[in-house]
């Protein structure tokens, strides 16, 4: 199936701003799914609320557009009901880690087989550019006119600490790598998390004098490097890209099968 067969063409051109990184994530996701050859009926995409969460409307899967922050809780209900389906959950940084932080750490803890994508534009895009828990100190936002003092989560660390068994990061500049990592994440059995650094030129870029989409993408290029690369070793301030965690651990739905076995044999 060609990548385009996975989208709902009638909703294109989509509603994201020109140069919004979320479109590139959509693009990469399509490639990942295409390369895995998964049928459209075998994927359930669950999203919350935010610019990022719009992604579900554009894709021709089973799509569940839920409440702000709650996508993973809905997805848990779907997945436990139908473990054979592939659950993909794209979220914004606010969606996943502000209001949705609790469901995030608990889904990771359970190691339930869901592929979570955090489209990290370091801002609440949908509501007009307020700071998020991933904005980081020093950033300007509509609710941080004197520069943000909130420290940022390290998504990679917190996902790992909470129990995620696949944890990775890429950016919209590295579209090909991104597609590959998303593919790996979908293949992984257990809770997988991909943080995607994505540009919001409309709010983050403009407010923070980072210029438009092009300049922001350049920054993604300059400020990141593959983990383990020489660049990273030499410049510790550089942000790592790649797969940080990839390990085996009991998956929740499989463990639930064990409960059923114990209950029915008793």
């Amino acid at each position: 199936m060609a990548a385009k067969d996975y989208i709902r063409e009638r909703f294109f051109p989509h509603l994201w701003c020109p140069g919004c990184g979320h479109g590139t994530v959509l693009n990469a996701l399509l490639r990942a799914v295409e390369s895995l050859g998964i049928g459209k009926n075998e994927i359930v995409m669950v999203s919350g609320i935010g610019c990022s969460s719009r992604i579900s409307g554009y894709l021709d899967f089973h799509t569940l557009h839920t409440l702000h922050g709650r996508a993973l809780a809905f997805a848990t209900g779907v997945k436990l009901s139908r473990p054979e389906l592939n659950l993909i959950v794209p979220m914004g940084d606010g969606d996943a880690l502000a209001i949705g932080g609790n469901h995030f750490i608990h889904a990771a803890r359970r190691n339930i087989d869901i592929t979570a994508l955090v489209l990290n534009n370091r801002i609440y895009g949908m509501t007009g550019g307020q700071y998020s828990p991933l904005s980081g100190a020093g950033v300007l936002a509509t609710t941080a006119p004197y520069r943000n003092i909130d420290r940022s989560f390290d998504v990679i660390k917190i996902a790992e600490a909470a129990g995620a068994t696949f944890v990775a990061r890429s950016t919209t500049y590295h579209a090909r790598e991104l597609a590959k990592i998303i593919k790996q994440a979908i293949e992984h059995k257990g809770f997988s998390l991909v943080e995607v650094m994505s540009q919001c030129p409309t709010y983050f870029g403009r407010k923070n004098q980072q210029g438009g989409a092009l300049e922001m993408l350049q920054l993604f290029k300059e400020q990141t490097a593959s983990i383990g690369s020489k660049a990273m070793q030499e410049h510790p301030e550089i942000i790592g890209r790649g797969v940080f965690v990839n390990k085996k651990a009991p998956e929740y739905c499989q463990e639930y099968e064990a409960i059923v076995a114990r209950a029915t044999s008793a």
């Binding site: 075998e42 899967f61 409440l67 848990t76 209900g77 779907v78 009901s81 473990p83 609790n102």
Partner: protein
Amino acid sequence: MAGVNKTVAGVNKFVQGNEACVEGALYAGLTFFAGYPITPSSEIAELLSVRLPKNRCCFIQMEDEIASICAIIGASLAGNKVMTATSGPGFSLMQEGLGYGIMAEVPCVIVNVMRGGPSTGLPTGPSQGDVNQARWGTHGDHAIVALTASNHQDIFHITVEAFNIAETYRTPVVLLFDEVLGHMRERIVVPKPGELPLVDRLKTEVKQGVDYHPYLPREDGRLPMSDFGGVHRYNVTGLFHDMWGFPTNSPQVVHGLLRHLTDKIENNINAITHYKEHCLDDAEVVMISYGSSARSALHVVANRRSRGERIGLLELQTLWPFPAELVREKCAQAKRVVVVEMNMGQILGAVKQAVAKPDRVTLANRIDGQFITPTDIRNILRLIQGRGV
């Protein structure tokens, strides 16, 4: 989990009200439960954690009540009959999710075993304080179905009915019990399979490749569903949406959807209304009550009738949509209508609006965290009649 629901049926059991609810849910075909413990509802989760896995069905304890209601909605869309159970504080937290269930038309059952509120209130005290919250707790215009019962056999039946209504109208249904019922024990008889009619999930007959409309009601008003993972891919959202489930702000569609959501409940009020009546035929004093307080009211009726007093009881099992016609009719001949509830008069207003002579309606209640007794009601009746205590 491709669970099959097996209920122990045709059996006498001596159970708590919470267990009667569990038996009813299993009889109705519950296959997925998600919840978070809270007094006085926790036994529902505990019992289901034992029973559901035996049926190869799902039980999951979520991180909180918000996650619980979201999980059951997800599970329902994947083809399960679903339920969650909580009490006041948890029910408050579920309000956003409840509204989502209403908007996305997802069948599900939410049990609220009421305790004393507001706030943490009296965790182990009986109360019927969440009746109006069940009606209006979530934001925006909407209709809701809320049911209750006063004894364990009825709890069993009304729980079955809750699932039937949820499936028939594709809507969340709230079951409002209370601490007295939840924790006391009495006998129930679990009917044999087939004895009670069950409404199964109506699945679409639209074939693969043909355009399926998840949100376009059929001639008979019902909306067949298609499980996630099936051959029809569609969109589910809490935004106003068109007949395929895609967001729209078209005024016509918005208006139509909101009316549909309300009308599907209100136009079927007769089918949704359940009640019992006791000695109403010639009653000059009509008591209206529900849940555990109806037991005390019934005690008074039995007691007074034996002395020849013309007193009767209308016991409501459907609280929302409020059966105004029924109440109006049953109170038509009454010289006095006495609403008995354990709150500050939450259905009182609806009763007053329903009857022809609102002045004749009075409230017999108790709000101190204690179960209202027949003596309380008798004392209030005396006072109402001007006879002092």
